[in-house]
Amino acid sequence: MKLNKTAVGWLNVTPLLAIMVPFFIMPIIVVAIASIMQTDGFGGMFMDPTLENYTYVFQSALTYRLYFETIKFAALTLIFSAFIGFWVAYFLVFHVRSKLLAMGLFLICTVPFWTSNIIRMISWIPLLGKEGLINQALMAMGFIDAPLEFLLYSDFAVVVAYVHQLTIFMIVPIFNSMARIDKRVVEAALDAGASKFDIMRYIILPMSKSGIALGAIFVVSIVMGDFFVVKVMSGGGTASVVGAFYEDIGVLQYPSAAASAIVLTILVMLMVALILRVVDIRKEITQ
């Protein structure tokens, strides 16, 4: 009657595996197989194992430019969202005295998460555009004579849209790890004569590290895997890794797209693994 722990555990994760195997493992395998197949030029593929698709990917100067652009966006988004997320969480945890108010303000930060990302991205267009609100305002106030062109359909707009979407992924885990810091530790440090800067450096920053790492996993994996925001907000001027192989698929170049997809997947997994070395995510979440 009594099942052992391992059997019960596996029984309970069976439904999860029933999704993971066909919709995560299989697709990766399928793409990996497709990446060593060849195309007949008309959208058909045939099996004749080759690494040509990979040599093509690695020899193309375009590849390096695409990766440079995408990693640049990931890094910029990471920096800004971590900076904003850290100070917002710090303000809520350490400066708002009423717990209820802090919770309320925290909820205000999270509500937009529940609305469509695409809509939130589009919503920058009437603000940043040539005739947008910001340009109108700046011109009305006489700061500028001609509308600023770099606001929309530019790298700037891409980063704004990413940060707008993803800062929430930073705020929540950082807020959680900061909320776990015992306020008495800070008071003890003050009593020991620590300055505000010391407290930040020796207590708050190290203890929020895991939250930042957790947020970074989401931000990095989402930006690296995205092509939608880049496509719309850059106005087509900038491409991205995913965007490039999406276009390959549009012209039925499956094998080269698949090779590129595999390279990207491996890169993202490596980045996440690197972050996971900093934080024991499992321990972090179950705490």
């Binding site: 722990k5 019960v8 555990g9 596996w10 309970n12 994760v13 439904p15 999860l16 999704i19 066909p22 919709f23 995560f24 493992i25 299989m26 697709p27 395998i29 399928v30 793409v31 904003i84 100070w87 303000f91 400066h95 205000i108 509500v111 937009p112 529940w114 609305t115 469509s116 990302n117 695409i118 809509i119 919503s123 920058w124 267009i125 009437p126 603000l127 555009g129 005739e131 947008g132 609100l133 707008h164 994996s221 690296m224 895997g225 092509f227 939608f228 719309v232 995913v242 698929i249 499956y254 797209a257 997809a261 990207l264 997947t265 993202v268 997994m269 996440v272 499992r282 979440i285 179950t286």
Partner: protein, 295 residues
């Protein structure tokens, strides 16, 4: 003796008071301003498209407003353009409901499994993390190709459902971990001790205790599905879901109808949030009501 104690207390009180007032130095005001700026930047753009969606027929994609009308909402429903807005709405809602139900049930089970270490649990855990961080379009292409190779047509309620679950399930399980960290295993043991069967323990103790957390997981499942794009793009088959519809509109529609769609979509989102929060509050109020009876 008492004098001494009073003296200590009062100096301590003074010191405390000084420290508290020194909290409100420039850092507080700088951070408060920073926070306010963040919230404005968070909500400002969204508010602007909600307003612009009521733009008059003569108005364009940007301010100023040329008058208020429901013209662009009407155009959405009338389907004067190519595309199937209301159909994609219905599909997205059905799909999100299916994803929600499956996510809650499966991630509850997985959450229960991960409360104890079992042989091989680390593999399952990292498999899940892998599925969470894998580029969505890559999985979408793989699923699309896989269905193609197997000769099964892709469809929003088959391949897209699975594709979305590969993202909502790991996410739901991570949230479930946080939810379950509040579940004390003593409660289950106490229930067993009092003669409850496994099913009774889950039905009478575990589920009621976790109810607010399960609603939160459901909310995550619904929103993530309702908003999912990258994994759905190559797997939805012939009929679009709402985000795919919006995507195609962003590429070729240059009228405030796009904003109107955004407004409608957001209203739905807020309805869902409202219902979820409402049910959590209702659960808690029922408990509070008990207190009132007893007093």
């Amino acid at each position: 003796m008492t004098d001494v104690t009073n003296a200590t207390i009062s100096t301590r009180g003074k010191r405390r008071a000084r420290r508290n007032s020194s909290d409100r130095t420039w850092t507080f005001y700088v951070l408060a301003a920073f926070f306010a700026f963040y919230v404005i930047a968070l909500y400002g753009p969204m508010l602007s498209i909600y307003i612009l969606s009521f733009q008059d027929l003569r108005g364009g994609l940007v301010f100023p407003m040329r008058g208020f009308s429901l013209y662009w909402f009407n155009e959405l429903i009338m389907q004067t353009r190519a595309g199937d807005v209301s159909g994609s709405f219905t599909r997205s809602i059905y799909l999100a409901i299916a994803v929600t139900v499956i996510t809650v049930v499966f991630s509850f089970m997985a959450g229960m499994a991960f409360r104890r270490r079992f042989r091989g649990d680390t593999i399952v855990f990292y498999l899940m993390i892998g599925s969470l961080v894998a580029p969505g379009l890559v999985l979408g292409i793989g699923i699309g190709l896989g269905f193609d190779m197997a000769g099964i047509p892709t469809n929003w309620f088959t391949s897209a459902l699975g594709a979305q679950l590969s993202w909502t399930l790991p996410f739901g399980i991570l949230v479930m971990f946080a939810v379950m960290s509040r579940l004390n295993s003593d409660w289950e043991e106490a229930a067993r001790d009092l003669g409850a069967s496994r099913a009774q323990t889950i039905g009478l103790v575990v589920l009621p205790v976790l109810a607010p957390g399960l609603i939160a997981v459901a909310l995550f499942g619904f929103t993530l599905s309702y908003d999912e794009f990258a994994r759905t793009l190559q797997t939805a088959g012939a009929q679009n879901t709402l985000p795919l519809e919006i995507w195609s509109m962003t590429l070729n529609v240059t009228s405030p109808a796009l904003y109107a769609l955004g407004t409608v979509s957001t209203v739905i989102s807020f309805l869902i949030i409202g219902v979820s929060l409402g049910s959590i509050i209702l659960l808690q109020r029922r408990n509070a009501a008990r207190k009132n009876i007893s007093e």
